[in-house]
Each structure stands twice: as structure tokens, then as C-alpha cells.
């Protein structure tokens, strides 16, 4: 993906942008990369170096950003692996290189803008879906599946989720939070064991996609509990393997980010800032992608059907309209 623009970079007016993703191992980032490349192609005078730390380690991400500072790129898009990466963002700004954050923000940094959606709001949307499904069904004993304990973006999702339940006055208790360390095999074992160990659990919130990225046959206890109406599950992210769980009714809904928009709008915003010195608001909301069996309004967001989402993934025909400051208010 990277490096192909070295030759072009010598042309006057041509912009070299660097994009730092969190990792390589997730289709969301593939879509984001496509979005970035699509927008770059439309613009015509932008080259992209796409990269990610090999170990999902913030210090390594910092080193990458420092490398790009040394390389004097024209702008950097950064997906933060945690607050630890944020110092380097300020260094880039200090070195005169505009930085736009995407996916995960560094809210306290000097970055020019953040393109993405709010994790808290995402969790809140998931909470709304959940609340609607269990309205009037009595006490909810909810378990949460999380990735690495203490990861802040995941915690924001959890907080949004519980806030929505509070606001909707659902009687609930968070019974347990199980980590899976972002490992798929561990995640399914964790979900199944949790349900088996505590039969009183009647709700599950996955604050990441892990256990829905695998075959449904891995989740027999969950599936059977859902079928008997004793369990309600809502999950984060709208990656391809997850969609089937909405179709088959295991999950009431999925709340994801607009992965394509990360890249597409990220390049757009960065380009406009660098080239045309436009001023964007600090938060450029790319909105949420919500998947529910039937289209409905979730808060202020319109959801789409699993079929529609599948269609998008299979054709890879995500579309975005380039945002300009005046589109945002």
C-alpha cells in the first residue's frame, strides 16, 4: 500500500500524507484504507503512506509518528492506540505538520481535527437498542465482554451503554466484565463460560466484535439462550462476519463506526486543511453505522438492515460525500 508515491513526491504541489492505523488485522481498517485511497484518487495530487505498528503498542506508534516528522510529510492521519500516543501528535503539530485524528482521538492534544464517531455515543446507541428490546422485561443482569481490561475507548463504550440504560430507566446490574485480550478463541470461551457459570445473566454487551467474528456454532449456549428468549445481546462493530448474527436473530443489533468515512473524510479534512487552509471544527462526526433487523431510528441515527450492510461489504461500494466545514455545524 505504501511507498508507491515516492517518485511522484518530487512534483511541486504534490502532498505526501502518512496514515497511522492501529493495526493491520481488521477489515475495518481495510475499508478505511480504501476510503483514503478513493479520496486521494479523486483529489489527484495526494499520495498516501499507510502503516501500522506491528505490536499494537503505543510507544511503537509514537516512534512511527516521529519517523514521519523526521521525514517531513505534509500531513499525518493518526488512529491513537491510547493517550500515550498523544504526545507525539503535539510534536508533529509543533514541527508544523498538520495532524488529523481518526477512529480514536487524542482529545487533549493540539491536533487539527478528529474524524470519527464518539465511542460514548456508540455505546449509548447500543444501550438504546438494548433498552428498547428489554423494555418491561424486569431486572436485567448484564455481562460485558471487553478486549483488554482498561482500554479507554472500550470503557467509554461501556459507560455510554450503561448511561443509556440509566436514562431509559431499565433496572439492571452489571454482573461481570470479562476480558478476552482481543483473542477470538478466548472471547468465545469467555462468553460461553460466563453464561454457563451464571445462569441468571440475561443480557450481554460486547464492546468489541471478537466473539461475533467467528462461526455461530462456537456459541451454542448463547444461541440457545437467545432462542428461548432468556438472553438479549447487543454488540459493537458492523464487520462482515457479525452481520449474520443479526440475520439469524442472535443479536438485536450492531453499532459500528463508519469505517469508510474514517479514511475518506480523514484525507478530505487533512487535504483541505493543508492545501486550502480551511478551518474545521475539532470534531468531524462521521456518524455511526447501525444494523438492526428492520430500519429504525436509534436516537438521531437511522439504522440499516443486515442485507443492506452485507451488500455494502460485498460490493465494497461504501460511499461518502466529501465534507466541507460548512456541512458541519
Amino acid at each position: 500500500a505504501g511507498g508507491q508515491n515516492e517518485a511522484a513526491s518530487s512534483k511541486p504541489g504534490f502532498l505526501n500524507f502518512a496514515v497511522v492505523a492501529k493495526s493491520l488485522n481488521n477489515p475495518a481498517f481495510q475499508v478505511a484504507e480504501k476510503g483514503a485511497n478513493d479520496r486521494a484518487a479523486e483529489l489527484g495530487d495526494v499520495g498516501i503512506t499507510w502503516t501500522a505498528p506491528t505490536n499494537a503498542d503505543a510507544a511503537e506508534e509514537v516512534q512511527m509518528i516521529e519517523g514521519f516528522i523526521a521525514k517531513h510529510v505534509d500531513g499525518i492521519l493518526v488512529d491513537s492506540l491510547g493517550p500515550s500516543a498523544c504526545g507525539a501528535v503535539n510534536e508533529a503539530i509543533k514541527a508544523g505538520i498538520p495532524v488529523v485524528m481518526w477512529d480514536s482521538d487524542c482529545p487533549d492534544s493540539e491536533r487539527n481535527a478528529y474524524v470519527g464517531s464518539d465511542n460514548f455515543k456508540g455505546g449509548y446507541a447500543a444501550g438504546l437498542l438494548y433498552a428498547k428490546a428489554v423494555q418491561g422485561k424486569g431486572q436485567q443482569n448484564v455481562a460485558i465482554l471487553t478486549g483488554t481490561p482498561g482500554a479507554s475507548n472500550l470503557q467509554q463504550r461501556d459507560q455510554g451503554f450503561t448511561k443509556a440504560l440509566d436514562d431509559q430507566q431499565i433496572p439492571y446490574k452489571i454482573v461481570t466484565t470479562v476480558p478476552c485480550y482481543e483473542d477470538l478463541a478466548k472471547s468465545v470461551t469467555a462468553v460461553e463460560d460466563t453464561l454457563r457459570g451464571n445462569p441468571s445473566i440475561n443480557g450481554f454487551f460486547f464492546d468489541g466484535p471478537w466473539s461475533l467474528l467467528v462461526d455461530p456454532s462456537n456459541l451454542p449456549v448463547m444461541t440457545s439462550k437467545v432462542q428461548s428468549g432468556a438472553l438479549t445481546v447487543v454488540s459493537f462493530d458492523t464487520l462482515p462476519p457479525e452481520i449474520q448474527y443479526v440475520t439469524n436473530g442472535s443479536v438485536i443489533g450492531l453499532v459500528g463506526q463508519t469505517y469508510y468515512g474514517w479514511g475518506y473524510q480523514g484525507i478530505q479534512v487533512l487535504y483541505q486543511i493543508v492545501k486550502n487552509h480551511l478551518k474545521y471544527p475539532k470534531f468531524v462526526n462521521t456518524g455511526l453505522g447501525i444494523v438492526t433487523p428492520q430500519p429504525e431510528m436509534v436516537g438521531d441515527q437511522q439504522s440499516i438492515t443486515p442485507q443492506a450492510m452485507n451488500q455494502l461489504w460485498s460490493s465494497f461500494s461504501f460511499k461518502e460525500k466529501p465534507l466541507l466545514p460548512q456541512d458541519l455545524h
Partner: protein
């Protein structure tokens, strides 16, 4: 050959019943400590949570650690011969995604499985040749190939999870035979097979000898280099099988498959009582070590131990398990 350690060093000991003798032999073996820990843990969990000792929970727990156990048996073989294989997690991932790639691109189960096994063979061969013929340190070689093979994983998947495997490939990971999950069967088969190789086959005897004293083995005319290469190939194959089953069981081949598993796999072997010094160890150790961690993980979730404390308990149990072994070992030192 752990069953033959120090036995009958007391001359003229009265003939005891064979059963008793077998027990004593076992008690003196290096696996006894971990087995005691596993049993103790299971008893505790049975009392602590009524869901623990259910058929479903037990077989699913067994399935969840079978992948690690299979790879750990291979790791154990490498450790016996005095080496180490850090690349196993990447081999698991690569074999898994190659099979996933083939199967989801319409190839049958046999080509997919062969593809995975080929990955295991070639990666093991590369490790083995660099180590045995190149004379490089196993730690570094396999640290390097850990990176290299993971890179191949990314190239194969392109970052996209691959799904839509053929049904018989899925069955290998998800199916049951007489009520027992296939991966558990396969683990048992390899356990028996490897035990046979280690105890009853020339290759196994050579491996213990090389790990015990490489110089003496070489000067006894043993084909040291060839044995080492073969052992790394076997480890690669076992890793590949573990990875294949893992991916087949999850039904998805994605680029994080097996990421960071090297530590889990080697830990399983070592916790089971294999010494990193080489020359000693058994297939049973690897299974036991994997079982300890698997049961522990299961228990922690069943009991709803908080996310922050899980690691604390795991660490403490690992240290306790080897302390038990230490006390046992002292008893007849």
C-alpha cells in the same frame, strides 16, 4: 523416559505390587506436581460452582485448550532436543489462514488440510535448517521467523477474515465424535502418538540423548543435525495442526489467529514439568500444562472473578503448581 528416573535405586527393595510400583514411579515423575495441581483445582471448582462438573463444561473446556495442547506437544519435543520454538504462534496462524484461504476459495478439505500441513513442514524445515545446519541459536532464529511468518499471515489474509469453509473442514474443528469434540480426539491421538514416538521409537530416544548431551550424542554417531531438523519439522506440523483446528473451530481465518500464542504454548510445556535445559519431558506434560491453564481460565470465568484479578490468580496458580512439584521433588531428593 521420566518413568524410569531413579527407579529401583534402592537395592533389594521388596517386590511390591505392580500397581503400587507404577504409582510410585509416577509420583517420582516430573508430571506429578502439575497433575496434582490440576486435580486440586478441579476439586475446588467442583465445590465452588455447580456448573463446573457438567459434561458440557468439561468437554468445551477440553476443546478450548486442545489447540494449545497440540502445539505444546510439538514445543515439548523441541525443548527435549534442547531447543526452543518461538515461531509457533505465527505457524499456527499461517497454517490456519492458508487452510481458510483454500477452503473459502472453493478447494476441498483435503487440499486445505494439506496446505496447512505444508506450511507446518516448510516452516519447521526452515527453522530446523537454520538451527542445525546454520548453527544459529534457536531463540533468535525462531524470533526472526515469528516475525516473518506473521508477515505472511497478513499477506494471505490481506487483513480480511476469511469465512465460508467446506463442511468437513468445519467438522474437524466443530464436530463431535461419540459426544467428544474432534479437536479433543485429535489431541488425544497425538498424545498417544507422541508418547509412542518418545518412548518406543528411535527418534524419541535420539531426541532425549541429544538434549541430554549433544556432544556425547554426536560422538556416538547419532545423526544429530538430521534429528534436530526432523524435530523442528514435527513441531511445525503440530503447530500447524493446532492452528488449523483452531481456525476450523472458529470458522474464520483472520490475521490475529495465534498471535502471541508462543508464550502460552511454551508455558504449557514448562508448567507441565518440561525443563528448558533439554533432555527431559513428555507429551503428557504438555497436555497437563495446557489443561491447567484451560481449566483455570474456565474456572475464573465461571466464578465471575473480576477482570483485574484474573491475571493475579493465574500467576499465583502457576507458581503454586510448580511449588507443589518442588515439594514433591524434595521429598525423595
Amino acid at each position: 523416559m521420566s518413568d524410569e528416573r531413579r527407579d529401583a535405586t534402592v537395592p533389594g527393595a521388596p517386590r511390591r505390587r505392580t500397581a503400587l510400583l507404577a504409582f510410585e514411579r509416577f509420583y517420582r515423575s516430573s508430571e506429578a506436581g502439575t497433575l496434582a495441581a490440576v486435580v486440586l483445582l478441579m476439586v475446588l471448582l467442583t465445590f465452588a460452582n455447580n456448573q463446573f462438573l457438567t459434561r458440557d463444561n468439561l468437554i468445551f473446556t477440553a476443546r478450548s485448550f486442545s489447540f494449545i495442547a497440540i502445539a505444546a506437544m510439538g514445543a515439548c519435543f523441541v525443548i527435549i532436543v534442547g531447543g526452543i520454538d518461538l515461531s509457533v504462534g505465527s505457524v499456527m496462524g499461517l497454517a490456519g489462514v492458508v487452510a481458510a484461504f483454500l477452503s473459502s476459495h472453493g478447494y476441498g478439505t483435503i487440499p486445505s488440510v494439506v496446505g496447512a500441513l505444508l506450511v507446518g513442514t516448510v516452516s519447521g524445515l526452515l527453522n530446523g535448517l537454520l538451527i542445525a545446519k546454520g548453527g544459529l541459536a534457536p531463540f533468535i532464529v525462531t524470533l526472526g521467523t515469528l516475525s516473518i511468518f506473521r508477515s505472511f499471515v497478513y499477506i494471505v489474509t490481506g487483513g480480511f477474515p476469511m469465512q465460508g469453509f467446506g463442511p468437513s473442514l468445519l467438522w474437524l474443528g466443530q464436530g463431535f465424535f461419540i459426544g467428544i469434540p474432534m479437536p479433543v480426539w485429535i489431541m488425544v491421538v497425538f498424545w498417544i502418538l507422541l508418547t509412542f514416538v518418545l518412548r518406543r521409537m528411535r527418534l524419541g530416544w535420539y531426541a532425549y540423548s541429544i538434549g541430554g548431551n549433544e556432544e556425547a550424542a554426536r560422538l556416538s554417531g547419532l545423526p544429530v543435525d538430521r534429528v534436530k531438523v526432523l524435530v523442528y519439522v514435527i513441531a511445525g506440523l503440530m503447530g500447524a495442526i493446532g492452528g488449523l483446528l483452531l481456525v476450523a473451530r472458529l470458522g474464520v481465518g483472520e490475521s490475529t489467529a495465534g498471535l502471541g500464542y508462543e508464550l502460552n504454548v511454551i508455558a504449557a510445556a514448562v508448567i507441565g514439568g518440561v525443563s528448558l535445559k533439554g533432555g527431559q519431558g513428555s507429551a503428557f506434560s504438555a497436555v497437563l500444562g495446557a489443561a491447567l491453564i484451560g481449566v483455570l481460565n474456565n474456572g475464573l470465568v465461571l466464578l465471575g472473578v473480576g477482570e483485574y484479578l484474573q491475571q493475579l490468580v493465574i500467576g499465583a496458580v502457576i507458581i503454586l503448581a510448580v511449588s507443589i512439584d518442588r515439594i514433591r521433588a524434595k521429598n525423595f531428593a
